[in-house]
Symmetry: C2
């Protein structure tokens, strides 16, 4: 399993992903799922992946191979790649095509075997200092774009961490605050699902910048993340006890309902 979240606020874009992969609980490994693509100066493109590792790795390799080949053997007219796509939308289209093709190839290979080849990606970034954009690319290659009304997108094990995002994050939330809330959504997810685990990779891209201001790995011994987890647990208990007890005892029993 996996949990990845991207938060797109007025201030900028943050993307976070855990690093745990498993093929059953007895086969757990650590793989980077947040990748800063090498797309040349003046542009930032970041991918977070969930689902079949063979599919997502193949999709990313298709994208980076296409950039290599386009430069080694220029075509006429030139093949569009992540280095040359003029807009983030066009780049997301390339990512969708790569995921679709990678999944089709793996589907053909696995044939009738009952192997899950589902996969999804978060794709975010910006070109030439224009406003950052964030997309969720589905297995089939189609995608949706993050909008200010719900300024985040999640893939993987998304449910445990969704309530806090829904209640706290808005378009006006600062980028630091957005990262904090995303980390809270990670502690809720990790508390409830063992298949999501540290380290967490984090990327921050400020609106107006062309390059990430921060690419960071949060590991087991990270003092801030530990403190955040403990404070959040304590705050949940305090918030719960601050709410008065249910008054329904006074209503009494309303009869047997069969």
């Amino acid at each position: 399993m996996t949990y990845c979240v991207g938060v797109l606020v007025d201030d900028g874009l943050a993307m976070l992903a855990d690093t745990r992969t498993n093929a059953g609980l007895d086969n757990v490994s650590s793989y980077r799922k947040l990748r800063i693509m090498d797309v040349g100066p003046g542009r930032t493109m970041v991918v977070a992946s969930a689902g079949s590792l063979s599919v997502t790795q193949a999709a990313l390799t298709r994208l980076s191979d296409a950039m290599l080949l386009a430069e080694a053997e220029p075509a006429d007219p030139p093949t569009e790649t992540l280095r040359t796509a003029p807009t983030m939308f066009r780049a997301a289209t390339l990512v969708g095509q790569a995921l679709h093709a990678a999944r089709a190839a793996v589907d053909e290979a696995v044939g009738g075997d009952k192997v899950s080849t589902g996969a999804s990606l978060l794709f975010g970034g910006c070109i030439a200092g224009r406003r950052p954009r964030l997309f969720l690319v589905y297995s089939s290659g189609n995608f949706i774009e993050c909008q200010p009304d719900t300024p985040y997108l999640q893939i993987g094990e998304h449910k445990y961490g969704k309530p806090i995002l829904d209640r706290v994050v808005t378009w006006e939330t600062t980028l630091e605050e957005a990262v904090k809330v995303a980390l809270i959504s990670f502690t809720s997810t990790m508390r409830s699902n063992l298949a999501v685990g540290l380290p967490i990779d984090l990327m921050q891209l400020r609106a107006g910048a062309s390059e990430p201001e921060l690419v960071h790995r949060i590991t087991d011994d990270d003092a801030y993340y530990r403190e955040l987890t403990e404070r959040w647990s304590a705050a949940m208990r305090v918030a719960t006890s601050a709410i008065p007890p249910p008054p329904y005892g006074e209503a009494g029993r309303q009869g047997v309902l069969v």
Copy 2:
């Protein structure tokens, strides 16, 4: 969709269920999913249901028909029913058999149609003032029992509401507090999934008692539930802003990772 939760603490047992059913978002209805079974004096048995309504309704009808028939036409030796089962474990076995049989009948009826017949039940109660017990009965009829280490069981849309239960409820939690936390888990679920909705049915059974001390329906205009929802939203925002911002900005950018 559905969300049902049972909390079993030293103090007693609480069971809660929403009432929304849907066959697609364009076909939403309200059905009681928490049922106090009519099992005679000195015993309480309560069922909460999730999944295929045709399966869970058939399972419950099998159980109540069996009680009727055993009294109308006594067999020799007598057929065991929820009215005569000597322990909650034996009663849970009957519930499991009824669910298994109901599902098998519906499976045969739907044949190759792509209709989901999955269903699960929470089954709780007590006999003769003995300690309340709580079970989760799976579609196949097998079941697990709630234990003090994790003093709650959920069925249906369980993920959104799980983090708060995990962080706050222990075996020592009072029954009132357990109901409050269960209601908080409902607000988190309803905030994130439209297919879970008010009213919520609630049953409280105090340890040592033979009958529920409370059977109550929480409706749209319930002042306490509204206040709980608002206070919880506010507390989430306060708790979030009380945590200091992430310090990672100082770490700086760690290089491009392809």
